[in-house]
Symmetry: C2
Subunit: 787 residues, 2 copies
């Protein structure tokens, strides 16, 4: 009898899985009954038991650090090994593998070259426009100061010269492509972490960013062009490797085999490195930046390619810029930021404590900077939401920058004799003949040039008062500027602030030890700049190397690292790095490197979203269409049909595979149904790549009523061995699996391999550890559909 019973059961199962029309009507499935399901975005399953426990706030004040946004999706780094891919592998063989690898190196070469060219265009534009702007201003000031002190004329001119470019840049950013605001480093970091940030690597973003950065630097904002270069490099890499641009609706039909998240990620991390390399002339620093800040997936051969792209990038930039500056063969312009050649600083062991103290001070100042910027950003998120308000704010900052600058050079009469002019536009102001106004020379040039001045100007160029006033104002200006609706980075203003107070330190030290030969103001300016930057962005290795490479000074590694570690530790005591603050404010579900500690007692069954919407191996087309319309999930476990036994207990379906929304969309679009069988011979894995990365929505697919009664066999398309874990798996184990392999969906199964839940990025990212002021704890973030 038992035998018979078992056989009966098997029969039912077999029948069901062959059954083309689903027996249970879709609306009655338990998983679809949930009320809120069709309003949700993506793989966030707000309905899980766990999330019910921790109150979901449907509406709350924006600007919280403890909220995850529901709108960010994951990228899909796991390779879908379906039948089509296996077919392709079999057909193409090792020759194809070699060919693809050569194409990959070639692509990295192109990425290096193009990133450098973009950097050159930006740099030369800024150079030319600044020349016109500051040359004119300098002349006007000196002209009107003699003509009866009508200084309001050059002042208004200054304000105008600031506002016009800034207004253009801000308008572009606010109205055309808001993601182009800021440095783009947080966005690139998130992308490399595996979060799909919309539009972040689009051609349109690159155009807006490039024009925007020229505008904001020429507009005299306290911002630099270096951060945006990293973003530009990332966009260039994505564009070249994909061989097509969605913004331009152009498909070059090259590199089609790179059209998947996994490949694209590798190129983007190379592009980001090439961007750093172009910005700072720091190829090693670029690779390390890409590793430290971005790439979650370390791989030896990728690193070699990344390094290659970085070297090519700095080389190309060097050739072009050297030619532009009239010294073609000289190769003396390795990066956009040229801090000039440092002589070999020497330092004594007893100077190290001073550097540590400076690092500590930099950490405090940096975390204060971050705090102000955080408050400002929250204010912006809450109240400055209209586009024209954003543009207006940028213009106000531009005007204030001009005003502050003008007031300073007007009120502090810091004169130095002409001769070894650190600036191209020496302005006399109220100084005597043969002298120039030092503050005017700081303000009437791009911030890069000012940093260079502070690093290299001989001792006594700047007096203590002007430095102090400058630090005070520039500090606030810089923190006000970062986060405006303009494309600019914070490296340069931060370096400038730090270099200024570093020089102040050298003045103080010189006052204390007037006989010491070691107190070189440039050395202290460098340490101050490093401390300030470390306190704001909290990077250590890559920053050390970038500064070493930019200054060409390798013997200074130890002081730099000591300073940066002190700054990082001090800063971390108070708050997060500025990029992390902005990422948290955006609610992006970034996965950290390690799972939060002490969470082994949180199990998959608590974390997972359930019930899960599943599909059968052979599924009704109408059901699929309805499912895609009504839910917003991006991955569906494919299961054997659940069985209802004699006791009316419905089991879960046993897992057979995993299929993505994008794959279902393509199947529907290409009409790969069982009833229309002529497509089988021409089928290949490229059908999915052709649509990548922007698949149509379900509403754009037309399916006739007839077709809705058809069925589709999902088995050749699905990933037939997805990684799964048992329901009693702990959070750290899931985290390591998810993070280490770059997954997007992790089905949770019970003892008999039946799917009982699904874990996605947000389920893991919502457990976040915090460490502040020596204490530590675990946050459970809220989930919001609003931010």
């Amino acid at each position: 009898m038992i035998q018979n019973g078992e056989e009966e059961k098997v029969d039912v199962e077999a029948e069901q899985s062959e059954n083309h029309v689903r027996p249970t009507p879709f609306r009655n499935l338990p998983s679809i009954q949930d009320e809120s399901i069709n309003t949700l975005n993506e793989d966030s399953d707000l309905t899980s038991s766990y999330k019910r426990r921790s109150s979901i706030k449907e509406s709350f004040e924006p600007g919280s650090l403890n909220v995850l946004s529901a709108k960010y999706e994951s990228l899909d780094y796991d390779i879908c090994e379906n039948h089509l891919m296996l077919d392709e592998e079999r057909k193409k063989g090792y020759r194809y593998v070699v060919h693809k690898n050569v194409a990959r190196w070639f692509t990295f070469l192109l990425i290096g070259i193009c990133t450098a060219l973009v950097a050159c265009i930006i740099d030369i534009s800024i150079e030319e426009l600044s020349y016109i702007k500051y040359g004119t201003l300098s002349r006007y000031v000196d002209k009107y100061i003699t003509q009866g002190n009508k200084l309001y004329i050059p002042y208004f001119l200054y304000v105008l010269f600031n506002i016009i470019p800034v207004a253009i840049g801000a308008t572009l950013v606010a109205y055309v492509e808001p993601i182009a605001a800021g440095s783009g480093i947080p966005q690139v970091k998130c992308y490399l972490n595996g979060v799909k940030v919309p539009n972040v690597v689009r051609f349109k973003t690159l155009v807006v960013k490039s024009i925007g950065v020229v505008c904001s630097v020429v507009g005299g904002l306290a911002g630099g062009k270096e951060g945006p270069m990293i973003h530009s490099g990332a966009v260039v890499a994505a564009g070249i490797s994909q061989g097509k641009s969605t913004s331009c609706r152009k498909d070059f039909n090259v590199f089609r085999y790179f059209r998947e998240d996994h490949e694209k990620r590798d190129f983007v991390s190379g592009g980001a490195a090439a961007g750093v390399s172009a910005a700072f002339g720091a190829p090693v620093g670029g690779v390390l930046f890409s590793l430290e800040e971005g790439t979650s997936f370390w791989n030896q051969s990728l690193t070699w390619k990344t390094f290659f792209a970085s070297v090519i990038s700095t080389f190309t930039l060097n050739v072009v810029l050297s030619t532009y500056h009239g010294v073609p063969g000289d190769l003396s312009y390795p990066g956009l930021l040229n801090l000039g050649q440092f002589e070999r600083f020497s330092y004594e062991v007893y100077e190290l404590p001073i550097f540590v103290l400076m690092g500590l001070f930099g950490g405090i100042l940096g975390s204060f900077w971050n705090h102000i910027n955080y408050k400002l950003t929250v204010f912006r998120i809450r109240y400055l939401r209209k586009r024209w308000v954003k543009v207006l704010e940028a213009c106000i900052v531009a005007a204030v920058s001009a005003t502050v600058g003008f007031l300073m050079m007007f009120s502090i009469n810091d004169c130095k004799p002409l001769g070894q002019d650190p600036t191209k536009y020496p302005t006399q102001m109220y100084c005597g003949d043969g002298e120039y106004n030092v503050l005017a020379s700081i303000w009437f040039q791009t911030p890069e040039a000012s940093v260079r001045s502070l690093f290299h100007d001989p001792r006594n160029t700047h007096n203590a008062l002007s430095l102090a006033v400058f630090v005070f104002f520039y500090f606030f200006l810089a923190t006000w500027t970062f986060g405006l609706s303009t494309s600019n980075g914070l490296f340069i203003p931060t370096l400038l602030t730090g270099a200024a107070w570093g020089r102040l330190v050298s003045v103080a030290l010189f006052y204390l030890f007037p006989d010491s030969k070691l107190i070189h103001p440039g050395k202290y300016a460098l340490i101050g700049a490093a401390a300030q930057l470390g306190g704001v962005v909290r990077m250590t290795i890559s920053l050390t190397v970038i500064i070493m490479e930019t200054t060409g000074n390798i013997s200074f590694a130890l002081p730099l690292i000591v300073t940066l570690i002190a700054a990082k530790w001090t800063g971390d005591f108070f708050n997060e790095g500025i990029y992390d603050i902005h990422i948290q404010l955006s609610g992006i579900p970034l996965l950290p490197w390690e799972p939060p500690p002490l969470t082994s007692n949180i199990y998959a069954s608590e974390v997972m979203s359930h019930p899960v919407v599943t599909l059968k191996t052979v599924e009704n087309v109408g059901h699929i269409v309805e499912l895609l319309r009504l839910t917003s999930y991006n991955g569906f476990p494919v299961v054997d049909p659940p069985i209802t036994d004699q006791r009316h207990v419905t089991t879960y379906g046993r897992i057979r595979g995993l299929i993505l929304r994008s794959q279902l969309i393509v199947i529907l679009k290409k009409k790969l149904f069982n009833e229309t069988a002529e497509w089988w011979d021409t089928l290949s894995a490229s059908i999915f790549r052709d649509e990548y990365p922007r698949y149509p929505t379900i509403d754009e697919i037309s399916i006739t009523e007839d077709e809705k009664t058809y069925s589709v066999d999902l088995r050749p398309f699905m990933n037939s061995s997805p990684y799964t874990v048992l329901h009693n798996t702990s959070l750290p184990r899931m985290f390591r699996l998810f993070r280490g392999l770059g997954l997007r969906h992790l089905p949770i199964v019970n003892d008999t391999n039946e799917v009982i839940g699904m874990v996605t990025r947000k389920d893991l990212a919502r457990y976040r550890v915090w460490v502040h002021r020596g204490r530590m704890g675990l946050d459970e973030l809220l989930m919001s559909k609003e931010i």
Copy 2:
């Protein structure tokens, strides 16, 4: 009826799993019937169906590249989350997490300091002994050359001065600790990859290595002290972090919480980086070396700590060596290898093709070097197996080195005027008064000093003939030396060979373009050295950075990388890098970064070892003891007892967890049986750490006959949610899981989660892709118990 039947089945299951005495006698288990099982080593299951298909050669000629040794085990990087660990977490809280993190930083600090101190001791010993040796030799040569040309006396003295230290070093290595031979870099690389190489990080190894390296460098072998420093750093790190030494039977009872493979690995990678940093004065290079060659598990915070240890290491070394050299505050000795300060080389774009050609040549020479060394190593493996033969070979090489050196300085009369002496021991030989013999100056100093001479000596110091002869002989000497039973590295001899032919290139170029100002011989020596080294070891990024940091010359990044990439590509066309060749010859199952391409059609069911020896959740003690005695497996799946149904079909057991041999041993040793229950209250996770890393064997555990009837509940001790995959999972998917998470055992389950097989490191490592001469393919390696 069906209902009843089902309930009956459940009852049987429940009864069985509570049953303390195993119903089936152990000998009758299918998995144990296999004939060869008790002769096998570790987690190699030679009995799998797959391996039966591919003929297992039980005996074959040693020295093949296509054999995996069965003797290497995996390290266990996966954290075993059992009840004890959860208990510990709950008790200790976040304060403990913070404390452990502080301890970790402190440990890295100690690692940096101690690695540097070891390096200093080695360096100063070599310096002092070399001073005596070469000073004496130089005097004797000049003395006997005037006394009737009795040059055979200094010659025999030279031979003696070479043989005595080499004999001491070789004897130590051959008789005391053979793993201390060579540079140790391949061994450290394997350790970091996750292979348990016996004795590799023991204190005894460090002692032998340190003495050995002093002996072989003082003995005038063509070897350097830099490679061994990396190994020394690794040992120092392992020793300090564990707070105990097995060699010395000393337990300091500190850092007990670091006693697991996972933590130890992190420290060892920091130690290796600190070693590079001390050897070359290259902290960034150290981190990159550790990343490029070793660490498989990238992690941001680990990298920061590694960098910290590296910086501390070079700083400590600098302070100590500067003091030793009498310039205490000067900090001019950042590394053991001091190539002197380079002036800023400038290069023109049109020189780059020359560099590429040199890289190409270096690649060819390097792969030839590797090939000779490969053939030699195979010869050694086959015929030079006795210890005294190994010592003899080392002495012969020492004597030949002396002979070659002496013949060269005797026969080539390359004289230069005294004055800017590049050596401490200028020897006159047949030169006129006020002149010195150039070749004697190359041979009568350590190879490091010779490299420095070649980089910095002014043009025309060396004539073409002496350089050519030197390159020829030194090339063969170096390849003969590497792989001897002595502790020495190949960096310096390779750099020396390369620098010599690089200088030759500059001589040739100068002949062609006598008016060019760009042809600086030091520049070409540097490029030649990089090309040769790149051709031999095939590293790119870390080598670039190491050379940049050692020479203090950052502007030379592009030429270096171009050269290194050319050398690597050319070399890879012919064979593998030297480290990989040695690893393959040892049959170590190293897992590469990526799964072999085109292997998606190989499934888990083909790869896995089966049948699997499993344990029940509550198991009989006698059974466990017998199992541990008869098998040599290191991990056992814990399963629900298999059920035999009415049709006499036995199912597999459903997976409940995974338990390690080491855990079972500890359970048996501590007698944690159900029948002796008083231990429960005092139980903690530390019982396993106390025995780490050398657990007793099963024969060392005494279990009475009475105790054999007891039972043990494995559930609190086992890892209750091991990562598993389905039998239809492809090789690349398993590979990524295994490699990415550092697993040791991967149970393979069927549709209903019953364990049907086990995959371990060797099952994956045996599929190896090869790429040579533009072609590519897949090797399936054989498995041997002999090597």
